[in-house]
């Protein structure tokens, strides 16, 4: 090999090494997951606060019922649409469904979670989804994690499980 060819090969090697280093730096800097800890804290806190607040909220169905009361009644009587009759003529299942969807649309959808996608599910025994709402494109990612919030359906020993999964968990 001539001297000039050797020099060209040397130059090429240097260019390749510099490009690789540059690519590595770009990848590390720009694809770094921003605020891992704060983001995961925000998300877990959001889910926990959302569901707990939801349970305590006055339903508006009757003067003295909360959304938790409507969900429990609906879970006990899923096939009759619940037993509590609201002032607007709706029964507990329909009323709870409508109110929860409204709340999700007014909060999580407005806060940008529509892009990430999320699912809200209330599962009554034996394994029936009494409320299911999903927002955003969940097919893109199913990377969410969720822990159920349980409500005891007294006097039985069964529970109603409520899930709110940001990122999609395939709960349908």
């Amino acid at each position: 090999m001539k001297k000039s060819q050797m020099e060209i090969v040397g130059l090429l090697i240097i260019v390749i090494i510099i490009s690789l280093v540059l690519l590595f730096v770009l990848k590390v800097v720009f694809t770094k997951k921003s605020t891992d800890t704060t983001q995961s804290y925000e998300q877990s806190k959001l889910v926990e606060s959302f569901v707990n607040t939801l349970f305590q909220t006055s339903s508006g169905c009757t003067d003295d019922t909360t959304l938790k009361d409507l969900l429990v009644d609906c879970a006990k009587n899923p096939f009759t649409d619940g037993t509590i009759l609201c002032t607007d003529g709706k029964k507990s299942c329909s009323y709870a469904n409508q109110t929860i969807v409204y709340l999700l649309q007014q909060t999580l959808d407005q806060w940008g979670f529509k892009e990430t996608g999320y699912e809200f599910v209330a599962v009554a025994p034996p394994n029936q989804n009494i409320i299911y709402y999903q927002s955003g494109n969940l097919n893109a990612s199913m990377g969410g994690e969720t822990t159920p919030f349980s409500l005891r359906l007294y006097p039985s020993q069964q529970n109603l499980y409520v899930y709110l999964c940001v990122g999609g968990c395939g709960l349908e």
Binding site: S34, T38, Y41, S49, T53
Partner: protein, 162 residues
């Protein structure tokens, strides 16, 4: 022209070109470094604002001024709307305390979504025009209205200014 002079000129030309390329690369590297460092510092700033927003939210969470209580027992994640309205009136008279200890450089809004809709601007720092606001940090909370005896679904929004 003698060959030796020509060769020397060529060598000088080569050295000049190498120097030019070197300085171009150096300038490119410096620009790249500046871009990267400004990007990372911006990211760091955003992260700090997020952490500040969380800590302010935690402080609000434990404010005895607005917590719901039943027989002197504090109800977690619940705020009394009448106490919030009272605090709204009190803050301007004790601005220094609330600005330096509790809310720092942040805007705090409490919003009721259901059954009734309402928005209360609890605190806003003096001059925010030139400051950069962070991503708003929102937490759902229960808002108890003692007048109508209803529990509203609401949320607290904390926006930290840099």
């Amino acid at each position: 022209m003698p060959t030796i002079v020509l060769k020397a000129q060529l060598k000088t030309g080569e050295t000049i070109i190498v120097m030019i390329i070197f300085f171009i690369l150096l300038a490119g590297g410096m620009v790249f470094y500046a871009k990267i460092s400004s990007y990372t510092s911006k990211q760091q700033q955003e992260e700090n604002q997020d952490v500040n927003a969380i800590s302010i939210e935690q402080r609000i969470r434990h404010m005895s001024e607005i917590a719901c209580t039943t027989d002197a027992v504090v109800i977690f994640d619940c705020y009394d709307l009448s106490k919030i309205h009272a605090l709204e009136q009190v803050i301007p008279n004790h601005n220094l305390y609330y600005e330096s200890i509790i809310f720092k450089n942040s805007k705090v809004t409490i919003t009721s979504v259901y059954p009734t809709e309402d928005e209360i601007l609890l605190f806003e720092p003096g001059d925010t025009n030139q400051s950069m606001s962070s991503q708003p940090f929102r937490t759902p909370v229960t808002l108890y209205d003692p007048v109508s005896d209803t529990t509203n679904f609401g949320y607290i929004t904390v926006e930290v200014y840099s």
